[in-house]
């Protein structure tokens, strides 16, 4: 995953922001504990959200305590620990997906990138093996997703088909960890649109680069390389996905981290979309925080 799902910090309460950071640090700690120190390199915001969703759906009791940062021993931070499987699961997703992404880069990146991916893979190998042993299903799903993604790119398919593998993967992961009593359909649809949104954001982010390098990008065909015009359209596509995602989100039974998750879903998504679709192409960057997302559903 890539780190597009983030809270809009300016609108979070301080306590919630600290809690969010503690989950981030807790995930980092859990990664190095369960799969080896090197695996904490793969830490991402998206996996933090996944861990929080896991804990929220399961209502896992967790505690926060002070500790040393895993990566930088001089730094002190608040670290979240929880009883259940949440942090280990999210960690495994992080390691396994990074591993497969590196494999993909090794196959079709540039020469320098290929070499870097090759060495990183040797570096991460042991960690990946440990994650694989614990969660073989995640690996199976991810491998299938990668295969379908490559096939889709080869055939130069439309937006829906291109986004489908990633969306299906996240949907399956969400169904995998949700508690018995959760409605499979709701969590499945939620996961599907989260995955779709992440994929489309990534496509948006890479559009300029992909046009230059003549790589596959689902948005490329629409305006024949006019990036600015495409961005308006990208935003529309993202909006519709966000609307679907929110509809499913509102049907979920959440117990913990509600304030943070709400912030990510209602404000974080908005800000990220603005950042990647418009701000990047505006020479004069508008740095206003008096911006409030217009939501008539969430009053």
């Amino acid at each position: 995953m890539f780190g597009y799902l983030q809270p809009f910090r300016e609108e979070l309460k301080m306590k919630d922001y600290k809690l969010y950071k503690s989950v981030y640090c807790g995930l980092c700690r859990s990664l190095s504990k369960s799969y080896g120190l090197k695996s904490s390199l793969t830490l991402s915001y998206d996996c933090t959200v996944l861990a929080m969703l896991y804990m929220s759906l399961h209502d896992t009791p967790c505690s926060v305590k002070k500790g040393k940062c895993t990566v930088n021993p001089l730094k002190k931070c608040m670290i979240c620990t929880c009883e259940g499987d949440a942090l280990r699961f999210a960690g495994a997703v992080s390691v396994i997906m990074s591993w497969h992404k590196l494999k993909d880069t090794m196959n079709d990146g540039g020469l320098f990138k290929k070499a870097a991916a090759f060495f990183l893979r040797i570096f991460l190998r042991g960690n990946y093996k440990r994650a694989l042993r614990n969660y073989p299903l995640i690996d199976e799903y991810t491998a299938e997703m990668m295969k379908q993604q490559n096939e889709a790119e080869k055939n130069d398919v439309g937006i829906d088909r291109a986004a489908d593998p990633t969306a299906t993967l996240i949907s399956r992961l969400c169904i995998m960890f949700c508690p018995e009593k959760t409605d499979r359909k709701t969590i499945g649809v939620f996961g599907y649109h989260v995955g779709r949104w992440i994929y489309l954001m990534d496509a948006c982010d890479d559009l300029e680069k992909d046009i230059k390098k003549k790589n596959f990008n689902p948005f490329k065909k629409k305006y024949n390389g006019d990036v600015k015009a495409t961005m308006q359209y990208c935003n529309e596509v993202l909006n519709m996905t966000a609307a679907q995602l929110i509809m499913a989100y509102e049907l979920l039974d959440l117990h913990r981290y509600k304030a943070i998750l709400d912030n990510i879903i209602y404000n974080g998504i908005t800000i990220q979309q603005k950042k990647y679709t418009f701000d990047r192409y505006n020479k004069k960057k508008t740095k206003d925080i008096d911006y409030y997302p217009a939501m008539d559903v969430h009053e």
């Binding site: 439309g158 937006i159 829906d160 088909r161 489908d164 969306a167 409605d183 359909k185 709701t186 649809v189 599907y192 649109h193 779709r196 308006q232 935003n235 529309e236 596509v237 993202l238 909006n239 519709m240 996905t241 966000a242 609307a243 679907q244 995602l245 929110i246 509809m247 499913a248 509102e250 049907l251 879903i265 209602y266 998504i269 908005t270 800000i271 979309q273 603005k274 679709t277 418009f278 997302p293 217009a294 939501m295 008539d296 559903v297 009053e299």
Partner: protein, 209 residues
């Protein structure tokens, strides 16, 4: 059974007015009109039922002096069985009853398979509408958008097609989540969207004739 106050997200000390307000907000949130063809309609209806029950229970409990009758209890207007029975084949005479049935049962793959068997020349507005519905529940939103707009262009007067198309347009505008790219207030935005929908319809009519 869950605490009805918890369901409505209020404290037991809330006034009748506050309860009513909370109920209305939730009813709006989970209203079947919003969930429509998204494939989560039954889940939303479930939630709606829960809210209705909670509201009714609170009101019953509070019925000490004056009996209180809620004036606006939402009943689910989305009754699929009725739609099926009242279905009449459209002007071109094609019968899509099987497809509606399959969609109601959640068998989208089969429904799509049958629809794809129709030759391109015989595809009417309803065909595009149904394909749009299927894509929409599958989460293939761009195809859903294309199908719905084609259905709307082919028969602009049909309320059913228009409803789906307008819902999609509204979602794309960003008012239901995501980012609204025009920097106007929310109220202006709504007007702006309905304006756009109208002009769009007019344009389509023009191009048809």
């Amino acid at each position: 059974m869950k605490d009805p106050y918890k369901i409505l997200g209020i404290t037991p000390h809330a006034t009748d007015e506050e309860i009513k307000q909370a109920y209305r907000a939730l009813a709006k949130k989970y209203h079947p009109d919003r969930y429509g063809e998204s494939g989560l309609a039954s889940q939303a209806a479930e939630k709606m039922k829960e809210i209705n029950e909670a509201y009714d229970r609170i009101m019953k409990q509070r019925k000490e002096g004056i009996p209180y009758i809620p004036e606006d209890t939402y009943t689910c207007p989305y009754n699929n069985e009725d739609e099926y029975n009242s279905y009449q084949s459209n002007s071109t005479g094609r019968d899509y009853r099987v497809i509606y049935r399959l969609i109601n049962l959640g068998n989208l793959i089969e429904a799509e398979h049958i629809l794809n068997g129709t030759s391109p020349t015989e595809r009417d507005a309803e065909w595009y509408y149904l394909m749009g519905t299927i894509s929409y529940s599958k989460g293939w939103l761009e195809e859903a958008f294309n199908y719905a707009s084609t259905a709307c262009r082919m028969s602009p007067d049909d309320d059913k097609y228009k409803a789906l198309y307008e819902r999609i347009i509204q979602q794309r505008s960003g008012t239901q989540g995501g980012f609204v790219s025009t920097r106007s207030g929310a109220a202006d935005c709504c007007d702006c969207i309905s304006c756009l929908i109208c002009t769009d319809c007019l344009c389509n009519c023009g191009s048809c004739s």
